[in-house]
C-alpha cells in the first residue's frame, strides 16, 4: 500500500469527527451508526496497512532546516497502531451505551473520535518531531473529554491535566532538541541516533538531558511524582477514563519513552550509566507507590487509576532495563495491560452506569446481581494479579525474566518490586471481588434489586476483552515472536 495511506488513516477520524456535531441526525441511532462506521472503516484500513506494510516514509511538511513531519510504519508503530485500532471500535460501542444519558454527547464523540486519529498519529510518526507534535495535539483533543462533565471538579482536573501534560512536553522538548541538533538524523532508527561523544559538551550533559526528557514524556505515563493528574482525570466519563487514561494517552507516554530510549538516544549509550539507574529507580518506586495508593483508595475508578499508574511503570521498568528482552517485556505488558485495564474499567463503568455507585463499600453482593460484569471483572482482576493462564502472567514473566537476564543488580530489585506490587494488586482487586460475591452474612439482596447486568452493547466488548485476555495468556507465541523481532530491530 502507498505511504500516503499512513497519513490518511490519521486524517480520516479527525476530519469525519468534525462532521459529527454539524450533521443533523434524526435519531440517536443514526449518529451511532455514523460514528461506528468511521471508527470501523478506519480500523479496517489500519489492519490492511498492517497486513501489507508500506516500507517507505511519507513526508507531510517541512519546518525549518531538516525538521519535517513524516509518517512511517515500523514494528513499534505496528504494535501500537494495532492495539489502538482493535480497542477503539469496541470502546466506541461501549460508550454509545454509556453516554446515553449524558448531555452534549455529539461534542464528546467528536473529540473521542478525533483522539483516535491523533493516537494513530503518535503511533505512525516517523521522527521525534512528528511524535512531539502529535503528543501535544493529543493533550489538546483529550482535554475537552476530561472537561466533559463540566463540574467544578472536572474543570480543576482538566486544568491539572493540561498543566502537567504541557509541562511534561516542555521538558520532552529539551530532549527533542538534542536529538535534532546532535543526532545523526531525527528519524527513529533502531539503536538510536545519539552515541557517546556525539555531544561535544560531554556525555554527562547528554545523560542529564535524557533523564529530563524521560521525565517529560513520563508525565503522560504518570511516573511518580508527576502522576496526580491521572486519578483526578477520573472524573471524565468512564469510556474516556478507560480508553484514554488506561490505554491511549498513558500508553502514548510509554510509547514515546520507548521511542526516546531505543530509537533516539540508543540503549547502548545509556546502558549502565547513572541515567539508567535513576530512571529505573523512579519506575520501581512508582510501581510500589501506585499499588499502595490503590490499596488505600476507596473510590472504584480512582483505585483502578492508581493501579494504572503502577502498571504503566511496569512497562517503563521493562524499557529501562535497556535490553532487547526488556523491550519485549515492556511491549508485552503494554498490550496485556491495555486489555486488562480497559476491561476492568469498563466493568467499573457498567456499575456506575447501571447503579451510580462509585465507592467500593457500596458494592456488597453485586456479584449475585450482575454476574456477567463481575465475572469478567474477577477474571481481569486475576489477570492483573498475574495468575498463570491469563495475560498478566505472560507480561510479568517476560519483564521479570528480562530483568534477571540483564544481570543488572538494580533490576533484581525491580523483580522484587513487581512481586510486591503483585501482592498489593491481589489485595486491592480481591477485596472488591470478595465484597461483590461474598457479602457478609445476612446481607439483604433486596436492597440492590435495581442492580442488573447492562445490555449487549456493554457486555459484548467486555466478553471480547475477556476472551482476549485468556487467549493472550494461553497462546501468546505469535505476539511474543513479533515483539522479539521488533526488540532486536529485525522488524
Amino acid at each position: 500500500m502507498s505511504e500516503v495511506m499512513l497519513f490518511i488513516i490519521v486524517l480520516i477520524p479527525v476530519l469525519w469527527s468534525i462532521l459529527i456535531p454539524m450533521l443533523p441526525f434524526k435519531k440517536r441511532g443514526h449518529m451511532m451508526i455514523f460514528i461506528e462506521a468511521i471508527v470501523l472503516i478506519n480500523s479496517i484500513l489500519v489492519w490492511l496497512l498492517l497486513w501489507n506494510r508500506p516500507e517507505g516514509t511519507f513526508t507531510l511538511l517541512r519546518f525549518t532546516g531538516h525538521l519535517s513531519v513524516t509518517f512511517r510504519l515500523d514494528g513499534m508503530a505496528c504494535v501500537f497502531a494495532g492495539l489502538v485500532s482493535v480497542l477503539w471500535p469496541l470502546a466506541t460501542l461501549y460508550s454509545f451505551e454509556y453516554m446515553k444519558h449524558e448531555d452534549h454527547e455529539k461534542v464528546f464523540f467528536m473529540f473521542y473520535t478525533m483522539t483516535y486519529g491523533v493516537t494513530l498519529g503518535i503511533a505512525m510518526s516517523g521522527n521525534i518531531l512528528t511524535m512531539y507534535f502529535f503528543y501535544e495535539l493529543l493533550t489538546l483533543v483529550t482535554t475537552p473529554l476530561v472537561l466533559h462533565t463540566l463540574t467544578r471538579e472536572a474543570i480543576l482536573a482538566s486544568r491539572t491535566y493540561l498543566y502537567y501534560s504541557l509541562g511534561g512536553a516542555a521538558f520532552a522538548f529539551i530532549g527533542m532538541i538534542f536529538v535534532v541538533v546532535y543526532g545523526n538524523s531525527i528519524d527513529f532508527i533502531y539503536g538510536g541516533v545519539l552515541h557517546a561523544g556525539s555531544y561535544p559538551g560531554g556525555d554527562q550533559v547528554l545523560l542529564l538531558i535524557y533523564v529530563l526528557a524521560f521525565m517529560g514524556f513520563g508525565v503522560k505515563a504518570a511516573i511518580c511524582p508527576f502522576n496526580s493528574w491521572l486519578p483526578k482525570a477520573g472524573v471524565a466519563p468512564t469510556p474516556v477514563t478507560a480508553l484514554l487514561h488506561a490505554v491511549a494517552v498513558v500508553k502514548s507516554g510509554a510509547f514515546a519513552i520507548i521511542r526516546l530510549t531505543y530509537y533516539s538516544f540508543g540503549v547502548d549509550f545509556l546502558r549502565g550509566t547513572w541515567a539508567q539507574y535513576v530512571v529505573m529507580g523512579i519506575t520501581m518506586f512508582t510501581i510500589i507507590y501506585g499499588c499502595s495508593m490503590a490499596v488505600k483508595e476507596r473510590h472504584l475508578k480512582r483505585r483502578l487509576a492508581y493501579s494504572t499508574i503502577s502498571n504503566l511503570s511496569y512497562i517503563l521498568f521493562g524499557v529501562t532495563i535497556m535490553t532487547p528482552l526488556g523491550l519485549v517485556g515492556a511491549l508485552a505488558h503494554l498490550t496485556a495491560h491495555a486489555i486488562m485495564k480497559i476491561c476492568s474499567f469498563f466493568c467499573a463503568g457498567a456499575v456506575i452506569y447501571k447503579t451510580g455507585r462509585n465507592y467500593i463499600y457500596e458494592l456488597d453482593g453485586f456479584g449475585r446481581r450482575m454476574p456477567k460484569i463481575f465475572g469478567i471483572f474477577t477474571i481481569s482482576a486475576f489477570a492483573l494479579m498475574g495468575v498463570p493462564g491469563l495475560a498478566g502472567f505472560i507480561s510479568k514473566y517476560y519483564l521479570a525474566s528480562a530483568a534477571v537476564e540483564s544481570g543488572n543488580a538494580l533490576a533484581y530489585f525491580g523483580v522484587g518490586a513487581i512481586l510486591i506490587s503483585a501482592i498489593l494488586t491481589a489485595i486491592y482487586m480481591q477485596t472488591i471481588v470478595v465484597r461483590a460475591f461474598f457479602p457478609q452474612a445476612g446481607f439483604d439482596y433486596h436492597t440492590i434489586d435495581d442492580v442488573r447486568d447492562p445490555n449487549w452493547m456493554m457486555v459484548l466488548p467486555l466478553t471480547l476483552f475477556c476472551i482476549g485476555m485468556l487467549a493472550y495468556g494461553v497462546y501468546s507465541k505469535p505476539l511474543i515472536d513479533l515483539f522479539t523481532k521488533i526488540a532486536y530491530g529485525a522488524f
Binding site: L419, Q430, Q440
Partner: protein, 496 residues
C-alpha cells in the same frame, strides 16, 4: 495421547462438574445435589486411582505458555503419593459434609467449589514443571477460598482474606524464583536430583541460595511455617468442619508438596546441603514445631487447638525435608500421609461434635464420649496416632524422622531435632488426650447434672463411615508401612 487423557481426566472432570453445579441456579433439590456431588467425587476418585496405577512416569505437554515454558503434567511417584492422599481424604470429607452441611446455607456453592478444588489438587499432584505447579497452586488458593469463608460472617471473611493474602504473598515469593531458575537451570521441568546448570551458576551461588530460601519460605506459607503461619489458626476454625478438615488435611500439604518439588526436583539436595539456607530452614521448622504445640496446648477452642497442632505437625514434615537426608525425607512423606489422614479425622470428629452437641470448647466436652462414643473413639485413636504411640502411623514416621536426624550428623540439629520432637510429642499428648479423658471420664460433678445431657447424640451413618474409614486407614498405615515404603523407596534413591 492415552497418557494425556489419563492425566487430564481426573483434573477436568471435577472442575467441569463443579462449574456446572455452580451455574445450576434452578437446582434446589438437596438429594440431587448430593447425588451429583457424590458421583463426581467417586468418579474422580476412580480416575485418580487410574492415574496412580496406570499412568507411566512421562511428560505430557499440554501447551506452551511461552517460548520456554510448557504447561505439562508428569505423574511421577511423589505426585502419585500426593494423589492417593488427596483422593482418600477428599472423598471421605466430601461424604462427611453431606450430613454436616445439612443446616448450612447455599450448599450448592460449597459443593461446586469442593469439586473444583478436588480437580485442581489432582492437577497440582500431577504437575510436571514449576510453572504448572505454580498455576495450580494459585488456583487451589482461589478455589478453596469460598470453602474457607463459607458462612460469610465478618470474621470468616476477614480470615478468608488473610488466608488469600498470605497465600498470594507466599506464591509470589516462590514465583520470584521462577525467573531466576529459567535463567540458571537447564529446565524447570521437575527432574529428580535438581536441574541447576553447573557452569551458569558458577559465580551466582549466593544469589541462587537466596532465591532458594525465598522459594522455600514462599511455599512454606501454605504449610504454615513460622513466621508466616498466622493465617492458619485464623482460617481453620471459621471454616465449616469438613472444609477445615480438607484444608489442614490436604491444602496445607500442597505447600509441603511444593517444597519437596523445589528442593529435590529443582535445586537438588546437594546444592542446599550444608548451606545457611538449610540451617535457617531447620531452625524455623523446629521453632514452629515447638511453638505450634505450645499454642495448641494453651488453646481452649477445639478447632483452633487442632489448627495449631496442624502448624506444629506440618513442621515435623518440613523438618524432615530440611534435613535433606533419605531416611528423614521418607519419614516426612510418611508423616505427610499419616497426618493427612489423622488430622482430617480429628477435624471431622470436632465437626461431628460441634454439629451434634454444639460444643466448641474443650472445657465443655465433659462426658461427650458417653454421648457420641464412636466419634470420640475415632478421635482417641487419631490422637494416639498423632502423638506417635505404636502401632499408629505417627510412630513410624516420627521414628524415621528421628533416626534421619541422628544420621544426618548436622552439628546441633542431629540431637536438638529428636529432643524437640519428643517434647512436642508430649505436648501433643497434653493437648489431645484431655478431650478423650474428659469425654469418657467426666468425673463426679457431671453425674449430678440433668439426664438430658446424657442423651445420645451420635452422628448419622454419613458422618461415621468416613470417620471410621479414615481412622482405619491411619492405623493400617501405621501397621503395614512397608508397602508404602517400598513404593517411595525408588523415588528417594532417585532424588538423593
Amino acid at each position: 495421547m492415552r497418557e494425556t487423557i489419563i492425566a487430564l481426566l481426573p483434573i477436568l472432570l471435577p472442575v467441569f462438574m463443579g462449574t456446572i453445579l455452580l451455574f445450576l441456579k434452578r437446582l434446589k433439590e438437596r438429594k440431587v445435589i448430593l447425588f451429583y456431588t457424590g458421583t463426581g467425587l467417586l468418579l474422580t476418585g476412580v480416575l485418580a486411582w487410574n492415574v496412580i496405577l496406570n499412568a507411566k512416569d512421562q511428560q505430557v505437554t499440554l501447551f506452551w505458555l511461552t517460548e520456554q515454558i510448557p504447561v505439562m503434567l508428569k505423574p511421577d511417584v511423589l505426585g502419585k503419593v500426593f494423589l492417593m492422599v488427596v483422593t482418600v481424604v477428599w472423598i471421605c470429607t466430601g461424604f462427611f459434609s453431606f450430613s454436616y452441611m445439612k443446616h448450612e446455607k447455599n450448599e450448592r456453592r460449597y459443593y461446586g467449589f469442593f469439586l473444583i478444588t478436588f480437580g485442581i489438587l489432582m492437577g497440582l499432584g500431577q504437575s510436571g514443571n514449576l510453572v504448572t505447579m505454580y498455576a495450580f497452586f494459585e488456583f487451589m488458593t482461589l478455589a478453596a477460598f469460598p470453602l474457607v469463608i463459607h458462612n460469610q460472617s465478618r470474621e470468616a471473611v476477614m480470615a478468608g482474606l488473610k488466608y488469600l493474602i498470605y497465600s498470594f504473598f507466599g506464591a509470589y515469593m516462590a514465583l520470584f524464583g521462577l525467573f531466576f531458575l529459567c535463567r540458571y537451570a537447564d529446565t524447570i521441568t521437575f527432574t529428580p536430583g535438581g536441574t541447576l546448570n553447573a557452569e551458569l551458576i558458577a559465580d551466582h551461588g549466593q544469589m541462587l541460595l537466596i532465591i532458594a530460601g525465598l522459594m522455600i519460605l514462599g511455599f512454606s506459607v501454605k504449610a504454615g511455617m513460622f513466621p508466616l503461619h498466622a493465617w492458619l489458626p485464623a482460617a481453620h476454625p471459621v471454616a465449616p468442619a469438613p472444609a477445615s478438615a480438607a484444608l489442614s488435611g490436604i491444602i496445607v500439604k500442597g505447600g509441603v508438596f511444593a517444597i519437596l518439588r523445589v528442593i529435590f526436583y529443582l535445586f537438588g539436595a546437594d546444592f542446599l546441603r550444608g548451606t545457611w539456607v538449610q540451617t535457617v530452614f531447620l531452625v524455623l521448622s523446629l521453632l514452629t514445631v515447638f511453638m505450634g504445640s505450645m499454642l495448641a496446648f494453651g488453646e481452649d477452642i477445639l478447632k483452633k487447638r487442632l489448627a495449631y497442632s496442624t502448624v506444629s505437625q506440618l513442621s515435623y514434615i518440613l523438618f524432615g525435608i530440611a534435613l535433606l537426608e533419605p531416611t528423614a525425607v521418607c519419614g516426612s512423606l510418611l508423616h505427610l500421609m499419616g497426618h493427612a489422614l489423622i488430622k482430617s479425622t480429628l477435624f471431622l470428629c470436632a465437626g461431628a461434635v460441634i454439629c451434634r452437641s454444639g460444643f466448641t470448647r474443650v472445657s465443655e466436652l465433659r462426658g461427650i464420649g458417653k454421648r457420641m462414643p464412636v466419634t470420640i473413639w475415632c478421635f482417641t485413636i487419631a490422637s494416639l496416632g498423632l502423638i506417635g504411640i505404636p502401632p499408629t502411623s505417627g510412630f513410624i514416621s516420627k521414628w524415621y524422622l528421628a533416626t534421619g536426624a541422628l544420621d544426618s550428623g548436622i552439628a546441633v540439629f542431629q540431637y536438638a531435632g529428636p529432643v524437640i520432637l519428643i517434647i512436642s510429642a508430649l505436648l501433643t499428648a497434653g493437648y489431645l488426650l484431655p478431650v478423650t479423658l474428659k469425654g469418657f471420664f467426666p468425673g463426679e460433678l457431671q453425674q449430678e447434672a440433668g439426664h438430658d445431657t446424657w442423651k445420645k447424640c451420635e452422628g448419622d451413618r454419613l458422618m461415621l463411615i468416613p470417620l471410621v474409614i479414615l481412622t482405619a486407614l491411619s492405623v493400617l498405615l501405621g501397621m503395614f508401612p512397608n508397602s508404602m515404603l517400598n513404593y517411595i523407596d525408588g523415588m528417594l534413591s532417585g532424588i538423593m
